[in-house]
């Protein structure tokens, strides 16, 4: 017999016979203010969750349902919903049906059963994902949808909680989360071991340890097993009971009154003391991980039966009978009527329309536009005061790093919701001084030195975005982003898609990277692969080659984040940060005078930079490759009489394909120069583009070798150089 049906029959038989378990706690509901009506309402939520699990399996068997990871055994997370407010943002894991059902009762007009069944049926009318995924989520209930099974939503929960305190201190007006709200995130005992989760616990505790407000509840629903691997008994309690900076509250997930007591205590700590709390709820996993999981392959019959005896619904029934809130008959009536009702609802839900075209599926990858709060228009006096200490430099040509730091300062002056965060971005001004003086200009609330954990830095940016802040985070070196890439790939970039554009997390991630750094090199500082960003739907990847472009592109990125809610990676070529000259020492051709916002010439998303108009050859490149191509172009012109043009991509994703085809129009040859590794680099996409759309034009590429970057003088051996570009161009021309 199906495990779900076995537990169902056991429940019915035991309630009918009055054979109910002894409660696991001595918590007296009246003593903690839990009324009979409130207990019955919780029970309704639990039963609806349970019956929905059973129904999901029946729907799957009929080919009408597409998800069977259930919430059975975790139904007391409804008590956590009861202890929190509807505007306390909740990042929930996938066993949270009862939580969502119960929270919906705090906001009249909600239809949780209908909504969830649409989600099971992958209907285009599913109000959270629009039929894209079975997720727990709701816009009106402040539950952003999560798809992760590995607790990768925890860093952003930390970021969201952190942002509440920041918004409060900055007195920001247009935030999403009330200033006295708390953030909840839930996960299982198995995923608590994940490095991402551990990083989130550590970050929250690290912040709280030094007095930073962190109104956050980590709800660990400990069912003792992760798919087939048992959690060592006592492991979660032993791991979290005594962590510095983290309060610990334990409660039973079998006993509704104790669960409610624990949730209420945790909520009180988080809300009134604004400290992070680890709420450890003992749960049980009934009927395996998902519909396809057969527990008998890794658990003994005795172990399975032992778990089945711990069905929280039976314990809820015992409590309700003991408290004279319901009779056994009432309990069975509720249970059976809920089953019948949900079955009727399901028949209507499965008849609703599905997604039918790829266009429909993709409609929410790029978030909808919005009208953000108007930016301040700083007065000339405010700007003068801001740049007082740079007065003597600001109208003189400068290198990229300084220009970027000024652009950041102007953007922060105009947009009070912008914060800057990263390792050493504070008083030190970052490794390359790009955030220089921002800390003294805007203070610790807006220029935030983080701990050494890239997942947490990105989580901060993503989480703060859930609260209406725009974080410009900094990853110190490109190679460091790889341990945290899922925060971009799996979390930030997917949010709009899985929420049908209802939730967004606009953010800008500045990353210093790429090769050619004089006297340095080495893989960790000069990594030259951007492949990790190139295939993420909807992500914008910007990569300026010079200071003037960098300023305008950063401003465009802020516009894209604020108005179009985009997730943006802004890669800054380290080697060009301080570069002043192009051809000869002292020519200062790679410097620019800072363009104040009033005299800005926007570089819009996708806009290419084109130097020259020759038709013998079009060289396409970006960042250092563009810089070197510009050097090569003069040699090709002066020494070899070749008339070429050099095209700076500026924006690597999305690639402006039409613009590129236009930009090479009339050229006889195309040479692609890519400083990133040959495999997976932009050059592959460009070769494919021209093969498909300009098949008559000769097209070649030079790219970095598939090597890691060595140190010192060997650092550039695997990379394209000015001379290799010249050589490749001549080879093309000479045939």
């Amino acid at each position: 017999m199906d495990a779900a049906e076995a537990i169902h029959q056991k429940f019915v038989a035991k309630v009918r016979a009055g054979n109910l378990p002894r409660r696991t706690s001595g918590v007296e509901p009246a003593d903690i203010g839990l009324s009979r009506e409130a207990m019955v309402e919780l029970f309704y939520s639990q039963v609806a969750s349970r019956q929905m699990d059973r129904l999901s399996r029946r729907l799957q068997a009929r080919g009408e349902g597409f998800y069977t990871i259930g919430s059975s055994g975790h139904e007391n997370n409804a008590a956590v919903a009861d202890a929190l407010r509807v505007d306390d943002m909740a990042f929930l894991h996938y066993r949270s049906n009862a939580f969502q059902i119960h929270r919906s009762k705090k906001l009249p007009g909600q239809t949780p059963c209908w909504d969830m069944l649409l989600s099971f049926a992958a209907s285009a009318e599913d109000p959270i994902s629009g039929g894209r995924h079975k997720v727990i989520g709701s816009k009106p209930l402040a539950i952003p949808p999560q798809t992760s099974t590995i607790a990768s939503h925890l860093p952003k929960a930390v970021g969201a909680a952190f942002s509440i305190g920041i918004a409060r201190m900055l007195k920001l007006e247009h935030t999403e989360l009330p200033r006295d709200s708390v953030v909840l995130c839930s996960f299982g005992d198995a995923s608590a071991n994940h490095s991402t989760a551990q990083g989130a616990f550590n970050t929250a505790a690290w912040a709280a340890y030094q007095g930073t407000p962190m109104p956050l509840i980590f709800l660990c629903e400990d069912n003792g097993i992760g798919i087939s691997t048992r959690t060592p008994p006592g492991w979660i309690g032993a791991s979290f009971r005594n962590r510095p900076g983290l309060d610990y509250v334990h409660c039973s997930g079998l006993d509704m009154a104790d669960a409610w007591r624990g949730a209420r205590d945790a909520a009180r700590i988080a809300r009134t003391q604004r400290r992070p709390v680890f709420l450890h709820m003992d749960c049980v996993r009934l009927y395996g991980h998902a519909g396809s999981d057969v527990q008998a392959t890794y658990l003994t019959r005795a172990q399975i039966e032992q778990d089945e005896e711990r069905d929280p619904l039976l314990y809820s029934a015992a409590l309700l009978v003991e408290q004279e809130a319901l009779s056994e008959r009432d309990i069975l009536d509720i249970y059976n009527e809920t089953e019948a009702t949900l079955a009727r609802v399901a028949e209507q839900a499965i008849a609703r329309p599905k997604l039918t075209t790829s266009k429909d599926v993709m409609a929410s990858i790029v978030p909808p536009r919005r009208s953000p709060a108007r930016a301040n228009t700083p007065t000339p006096e405010q700007r003068e005061a801001l740049f007082e200490r740079d007065r003597n430099m600001i109208d003189k040509p400068q290198h990229m790093a300084r220009l970027l730091s000024w652009a950041l300062a102007d953007l922060m002056l105009a947009h009070p919701e912008i914060i800057v965060a990263g390792e050493d971005v504070g008083p030190k001004g970052g490794v390359y001084n790009v955030t220089a003086k921002l800390h003294e200009r805007f203070g610790s609330c807006r220029v935030i030195n983080t701990l050494l954990d890239e997942q947490s830095i990105l989580g901060l940016g993503i989480g703060a975005a859930h609260n209406g802040l725009l974080a410009i985070t900094e990853i110190q070196f490109l190679a460091y982003v790889h341990n945290a890439e899922d925060q971009i790939r799996g979390e930030a970039a997917t949010l709009s898609f899985f929420s049908n554009g209802q939730y967004t997390n606009p953010t800008i991630i500045r990353i210093a990277g790429l090769g050619y750094q004089k006297g340095f090199g080495g893989h960790f500082h000069n990594d030259n692969s951007l492949a990790v960003f190139r295939d993420i739907p909807g992500l914008i990847l910007a990569c300026p080659s010079n200071g003037a472009d960098a300023v305008e592109m950063l401003r465009e990125c802020v516009r894209l984040a604020l108005e179009e809610q985009r997730v943006i990676v802004f890669v800054e070529p380290i080697a060009l940060y301080m570069t002043r000259d192009l051809h000869e020492e002292g020519d200062s051709l790679w410097t620019s005078t800072y363009a104040a916002p009033g005299s800005a010439k926007p570089v819009r998303l996708g806009e290419l930079g084109v130097h020259g108009s020759g038709t013998d050859l079009a060289i396409i490149s970006y960042a250092n490759g563009y810089y070197l191509s510009r050097q090569a172009e003069r040699i090709l012109s002066e020494r070899h009489g070749l008339a070429s043009r050099v095209i700076d991509l500026r924006w690597l994703a999305p690639l402006n394909e039409d613009g590129l085809i236009d930009a090479v129009a009339g050229c006889e040859r195309i040479l692609i120069v890519d400083e990133c590794r040959r495999t997976g680099s932009q050059s592959e996409a460009l070769m494919a583009l021209f093969a498909e759309r300009a098949p008559g034009v000769e097209c070649r590429r030079i790219a970095a070798e598939d090597s890691f970057i060595p140190l010192g003088r060997a650092a550039t051996l695997t990379l394209p150089s000015r001379d290799s570009i010249v050589a490749a161009a001549l080879e093309m021309v000479r045939g």
Partner: protein
């Protein structure tokens, strides 16, 4: 035996006992001693004309029969009697909801108050509102000929109403969201401005609802206070079936606090917009009943119900024509006030 169908009960509001409903109780419920007799007794004790007398009058008098203290108890009695006439061997009652004063009826049919208490509530509230606050209601119809909401017109009207409500001396609020219609309520100045300035509404001209007060607005504060003082919380108990209120909140058996229900009924419900559309939509989505039974008298709420269903394309309904076709073949909405449909749900 065929399986029982699940039915959603909808209780009508004011304005449903008109000329053609005169004699409704006599026509359909002369077999019922109780509860009509007890309703009559309650009114006699207070020196009021009985329900049976009013229903049995020779002719319909708008001045008399539409007054709050007359219409409300008449409607309640007819609805409640209809409710009792439903063939329970064929229908399980999944949930109940209602429109405006239909909420009081809902309380009674769901068993959250007894029938006599329900009658006393309705009688008191009818009198209370009749004696009550100055102002009234105007109904605007904002759908096209296929009963689809005209979204732009709706936005325009809501913006106009908000602007009028902000003027000195004017009070104007959304009183009831009623399918494709909105009932506005306010003081005389506010209503006059709305009638004068409302854009053309293609389906039907704006209609002033005779003898109605400014229900479901803050103008009813006095009425709310009197109700709280007159009508005790201990009349309230647990409903026997889910009730969906005028916010779309579901009150469930054993899970509803009598004092919270009392507060909602006599404070929130009286002072805030009644979202009948939402209540109906919540009810159909969360219960997915096999049939909707609209209690009598009359069937005027049927249009609002159909419009609320069309708005969410319930059961694939996209237009008035779809609705009429469904009704002609197998009525999803059974109006007990219609003689041709009543028999579908009575024994």
């Amino acid at each position: 035996m065929a399986e029982k169908e699940a039915a959603l009960i909808v209780c009508p509001g004011r304005g449903t006992y008109g000329k053609s409903e005169l004699g409704y109780l006599k026509r359909f419920h002369s077999d019922k001693g109780e509860p009509i007799a007890s309703f009559d007794r309650l009114r006699s004790e207070r020196g009021q004309p009985t329900i049976s007398e009013l229903d049995g009058a020779d002719r319909f008098s708008p001045a008399l029969h539409t007054r709050g203290d007359i219409a409300s108890p008449l409607i309640f009695a007819a609805s409640y009697a209809d409710f009792l006439a439903i063939d329970r061997s064929r229908y399980d009652l999944a949930a109940a909801t209602g429109n405006s004063m239909g909420w009081y009826t809902t309380l009674a049919v769901a068993g959250a108050v007894g029938p006599e208490q329900g009658f006393r509530i309705i009688d008191a509230m009818g009198e209370n509102s009749q004696a009550g606050e100055a102002g009234g209601q105007v109904l605007l119809t904002l759908v096209d000929e296929e009963w689809k909401t005209l979204a732009d017109l709706r936005e325009q009207v809501l913006a106009l109403a908000a602007a009028i409500g902000a003027r000195d001396g004017c009070s104007l609020h959304v009183s009831i969201e009623l399918g494709g219609m909105i009932v506005f309520a306010g003081n005389e100045a506010g209503l006059a401005a709305l009638l004068a300035e409302a854009p053309p509404t293609p389906a039907r001209d704006p209609l002033r609802l005779v003898n109605h007060g400014p229900f479901h607005t803050p103008l009813m504060a006095g009425s709310s206070k009197r109700a709280m003082a007159q009508l005790p919380a201990d009349w309230f108990g647990s409903p026997e079936m889910p009730m969906i209120d005028g916010r779309g909140h579901i009150w469930r058996p054993f899970a509803s606090s009598p004092s919270a229900l009392h507060d909602y009924t006599f404070v929130t419900q009286i002072l805030e917009t009644y979202h009948f559309t939402r209540a109906l939509q919540v009810a159909v989505k969360e219960q997915a009943a096999d049939r909707i039974i609209l209690l009598g008298p009359g069937d005027t709420l049927g249009g609002a119900i159909a419009q609320a269903l069309i708005a969410i394309e319930w059961r694939g309904l996209r237009s008035k024509r779809d609705f009429q076709e469904m009704q002609a073949s197998d009525p999803f909405l059974v109006s007990m006030g219609r003689e041709d449909q009543r028999g579908l749900v009575t024994s």
